[in-house]
């Protein structure tokens, strides 16, 4: 039997779809961890990026520190946390994995948020202030929408990295799709490892697609891509709606 047939056979074996080591359970574990990590990184990294970008102070230092932090191997953070008795057994290893992966996800989100905030045209910001908007209003109605495409690019990068790297969590503490990969490595079983890798790649693909859709939905109409602008020019109803938004 060829390798492909073996993999197909693995996916069609009923036993692999049930129980605590089944595909649905482990897929869910990985999804749970990845979503929690990305949300945490958006709150921490994105929040810091917004504050630094809005005030314009200390941003470069923070961005450089975040980028230097990228050099820290995730495996080192994971193992270090996983051998601390206070953390290692918390929520079946979820906490150790969450902290290590969130640290990995913060730099791209922080950097992109900060850059996005600073990319906002100073004239636009001044105009908003001149119209009497308070700092908070400028942030909410001007800076945030304009910085959003940058922020989402960072979230996309971080999400792909997190989904791929959360397989490492299976080495130290947590059970997720990485469990298949680690089992495959330990038993020289490339079919199981490859099947696990396929599932991880599928999740990364899903993350990319859903984040692109989300980015599109969140981006203000006039800022969308040129393809969209052409559609606006052709479709009078959409054009009118966009014009109303502009007023």
């Amino acid at each position: 039997m060829s390798f492909v047939a073996h993999v197909f056979g693995w996916f069609t074996t009923a036993a692999n779809w049930t129980g605590p080591q089944g595909i649905p359970t482990l897929f869910w574990h990985q999804l749970e961890l990845s979503v929690a990590v990305v949300l945490g990184a958006i709150v921490l990294g994105g929040g810091l990026g917004v504050v630094l970008g809005h005030t314009g102070r200390g941003g470069l230092v923070a961005v450089n520190a975040a980028n230097a932090f990228r050099a820290v191997p995730t495996l080192a953070l994971l193992t270090l946390l996983a051998i601390q008795p206070a953390i290692s057994l918390k929520w079946n290893g979820f906490l150790a994995a969450w902290i290590a992966l969130t640290a990995l996800a913060i730099p791209p989100i922080l950097t992109n948020t900060y850059v996005g905030m600073r990319e906002v045209d100073a004239d636009v910001r001044d105009a908003a202030k001149a119209m009497g908007l308070t700092g908070g209003q400028v942030l909410r109605t001007v800076e945030a929408p304009l910085a959003l495409p940058f922020v989402m690019a960072g979230v996309r990068t971080a999400s792909i990295e997190v989904v791929a790297t959360s397989t490492l969590a299976a080495y130290v503490s947590y059970t997720d799709l990485g469990t298949y990969v680690i089992t495959g490595l330990n038993t020289n079983d490339s079919v199981v490892a490859f099947s696990g890798a396929l599932l991880v790649a599928a999740m990364a693909g899903m993350a990319t697609v859903s984040l692109s859709l989300l980015t599109r939905a969140l981006t203000p109409l006039p800022l969308r891509h040129r393809g969209r602008t052409d559609a606006l020019a052709r479709d009078p109803t959409v054009g009118r709606r966009a014009a109303t938004v502009n007023i």
Binding site: A71, L75, A76, I83, Q84, V181, L185, A197
Partner: protein, 227 residues
């Protein structure tokens, strides 16, 4: 102390195991250097092709993105039966090189795209053949972008090499897995600190090399590529 019998850091471990640590460091440098060298040798020609012939662009970026998404660990497991499971340099390097491709190709194409049309027209007007223009005008002008890519790729690879410890290589990653297996902080911190230091030194060397090779960008700030 918070860590009880497992202190945060014990210096005597470093002095007592210096030979082993040094060996791991050397292996780490070797694994990283080979990956970056092969990655660059593959990426730049591919990027030039993808830049010149648009129809190649989609498949090149598609394959490179796919390699980038596959978890490194899974790549080792998949390559295992072909190139050898345990302590195989081939397995490790194929996976590591795979990770550099997207970053390096992306930046090189972006750099070539950013070459001013005036410069290219001037080269044509001076009688440069297309290949001479590529070598003496386009690629040199794309160097700041290529270096930006090299810096990101080098930092990524130095971090990723630690993961090859799970197939018996790992460089400094061996310190990390050793510390994990005996639940002892010090080796993990040794591995962490030395690989961060290695990444910092490599980055400084690349910045220095860039200044030597691309002296004209020294005066103005280089645009940073947001990844």
């Amino acid at each position: 102390m918070l860590f009880g019998t497992n202190p945060f850091f014990r210096w005597s471990y470093v002095t007592g195991n210096w030979d082993q640590i040094q060996g791991d460091l050397v292996q780490h440098i070797a694994l990283s250097l080979i990956a970056i060298a092969i990655g660059t040798a593959i990426s730049i020609p591919l990027a030039v092709l993808a830049w010149r012939y648009r129809f190649i662009r989609t498949p090149v970026f598609g394959v490179a993105s796919a390699l980038y998404i596959i978890p490194s660990l899974a790549l080792f497991a998949i390559l295992g039966p072909i190139t050898g499971f345990v302590a195989s340099y081939k397995t490790a390097e194929i996976a590591l090189v795979g990770y550099t491709l997207l970053i390096l190709i992306w930046n090189t194409v972006a750099g070539l795209d950013a070459v001013p049309a005036d410069a290219r027209e001037a080269a044509t007007a001076l009688g440069y053949s297309p290949s001479a223009a590529l070598l003496r005008v386009d690629l040199p002008l794309a160097l700041p972008y290529i270096f930006a890519g090299l810096r990101v790729a080098t930092a990524t690879v130095i971090g990723l090499v630690t993961v090859t410890a799970l197939i018996g290589l790992g460089g400094l990653g061996q310190q990390i897995t050793y510390g994990f297996n005996i639940a002892y902080n010090t080796p993990i911190i040794v591995g962490l600190v030395l690989s961060v230091a290695l990444a910092a030194v490599a980055d400084l060397l690349l910045v220095g090399a860039e200044r030597l090779v691309v002296p004209w960008t020294r005066s103005r700030r280089r645009a940073t590529v947001v990844s």
